[in-house]
């Protein structure tokens, strides 16, 4: 079990104030935007804030974040990559 992926699910639920959903109900590979969780552009910006607040990662250009936000897996991979090459 990927601890970072699970932690991200908890943080996203908390940051975006999602109701009536548990981390177990969010699939690692499911789309976060559009389909799947159905997040929108404002959520994307809020996740950018979350990345800085909890992981110290600054995203200057929102387009840079787009591939990272495809799913929980891609977000976890993005964080790992950023943290290993500062």
């Amino acid at each position: 079990m990927d601890a970072l992926a699970n932690e991200l699910k908890i943080r996203i639920i908390e940051t975006l104030k999602l109701q009536d959903i548990t981390p177990a109900q969010i699939d690692d590979e499911a789309p976060l935007f559009g389909a799947g969780l159905g997040l929108d552009s404002i959520d994307a910006l809020e996740l950018v804030v979350m990345l800085e607040k909890y992981y110290g990662i600054v995203i200057k250009d929102i387009e840079e974040g787009r591939p990272a936000f495809a799913s929980i897996s891609s977000l976890a991979a993005f964080i790992r990559a950023r943290k290993s090459s500062p």
Partner: protein
């Protein structure tokens, strides 16, 4: 009986007074500049439409509105002098009122009683009305960026209901860290300053203004002849991409004015310079006007997005256009985007017999508004 404009007043990034606005229209100039007012590097952009010598520390919103009202009332004196104060109404349009007072209260800095009172929009309206001799009904409109257009509509309704004989209408919002930080967080500001309808546009620029009109029943040079509103029912901050909400507002306004699209001689767009707004607005104009879109221009490259003042000050630009028979250009536009209105005016152009004008607005919360003015 018609609703006519008998006075205007404005303070903007291009200066104090209607004459400065008129000069800026003729010169197609921009009041947007790199501005150090907030003294912080954290915002996306420092290009702002700041009132020259503005940045007054205490109660700036009351101050700007007050200046605009004085000018408008001076112009309208002959009309206003005919009516007792109880028959003069007041409508305020603002999105954040004197929000700087909230910043001070939370940050623990001293704040005057009046500045704090004017944090509440209706408190601001009450004091402005009292200062300016309006003892009739007072309404405070806060409908995001269409507040100004709706305020004009509400004033016209008060007159048509015979609740008043004249109405002072004022729109005001000041630059603030509160708002700049928010639009920065939304990444909605263009770091290079807004360029409405431009191919390379990348966001809006904030501005500040106090802008006022005096309306009365009667026959005059400028008539308010119709309005329309709608909601996109789509998303809180992004417009319905096909422009259908704005189309509804436009069609309702034209119907209320009893005219058809081909009667419109000029459109002043909302034109914020964000990728989505301007694309949506271009589509909406095409839906309503088809291949016969009248000349269109946008004023936010001149003044910035003045939020609660925008609908009023940009209507004043329309009024000046009609009086001068000069169609305004679109300051800061370089190369029009694909799909931009076919008669998008980059530079001002002399008008021949400009009669009906359409002013458009859209705002957060999916709101849309359109206003039809007639000259002559």
């Amino acid at each position: 009986m018609e609703i006519t404009v008998v006075g205007c007043g404005a303070v903007t990034a291009v200066g104090q007074g209607i004459d400065s606005l008129r000069a800026a229209i003729r010169a197609n100039s921009s009041g947007l500049r790199s501005c150090a007012r907030f003294k912080t590097p954290i915002y996306q952009s420092d290009i702002l439409g700041a009132v020259p010598n503005g940045g007054l520390v205490d109660d700036p919103v009351f101050h700007l509105a007050d200046l605009a009202l004085r000018e408008a009332r001076a112009q309208a004196a002959a009309t206003l002098d005919k009516f007792p104060p109880a028959r003069i109404g007041f409508v305020l349009s603002t999105t954040k009122a004197n929000i700087e007072a909230l910043e001070r209260l939370i940050d623990g800095r001293p704040c005057s009683e009046s500045a704090q009172k004017h944090l509440q929009a209706h408190g601001l309206a009450a004091d402005l009305a009292a200062t300016h001799g309006a003892a009739g009904p007072v309404q405070t409109i806060s409908l995001a960026c269409v507040s100004g257009i709706v305020a004009i509509q509400q004033a016209a309704k008060l007159l048509q209901r015979d609740a008043v004989d004249a109405v002072l209408v004022v729109g005001v919002d000041c630059l603030s860290p509160f708002v700049a930080a928010g639009f920065s967080a939304l990444r909605a500001l263009d770091p290079l300053g807004c360029r409405p309808f431009d191919r390379d546009r990348n966001g809006l620029s904030l501005g500040e203004s106090g802008a006022a009109l005096v309306l009365a029943r009667g026959h005059g040079e400028i008539t308010i002849c119709g309005w329309g509103g709608s909601n996109d029912a789509n998303h809180l901050t992004g417009p319905a991409r096909d422009g259908s909400g704005l189309v509804l507002a436009m069609r309702r306004a034209l119907k209320a004015a009893k005219i058809s699209p081909r009667d419109i001689g000029y459109v002043n767009a909302h034109g914020t310079g964000t990728p989505y707004n301007d694309a949506m607005e271009s589509l909406a104009l095409r839906s309503v006007f088809g291949d016969e879109c009248p000349p269109v221009s946008a004023s936010k490259g001149m003044l910035g997005h003045t939020l609660g003042a925008a609908g009023i000050v940009e209507t004043i630009i329309c009024i000046l256009a009609a009086q001068e028979q000069l169609l305004p250009g679109t300051p800061r536009l370089t190369a029009p985007a694909d799909g931009a209105p076919t008669q998008l005016l980059k530079e001002p152009r002399a008008a021949t017999n400009l009669r009906h004008i359409l002013k458009l607005g859209t705002g957060f919360g999916g709101v849309n508004a359109a206003l039809v003015l007639r000259h002559g």
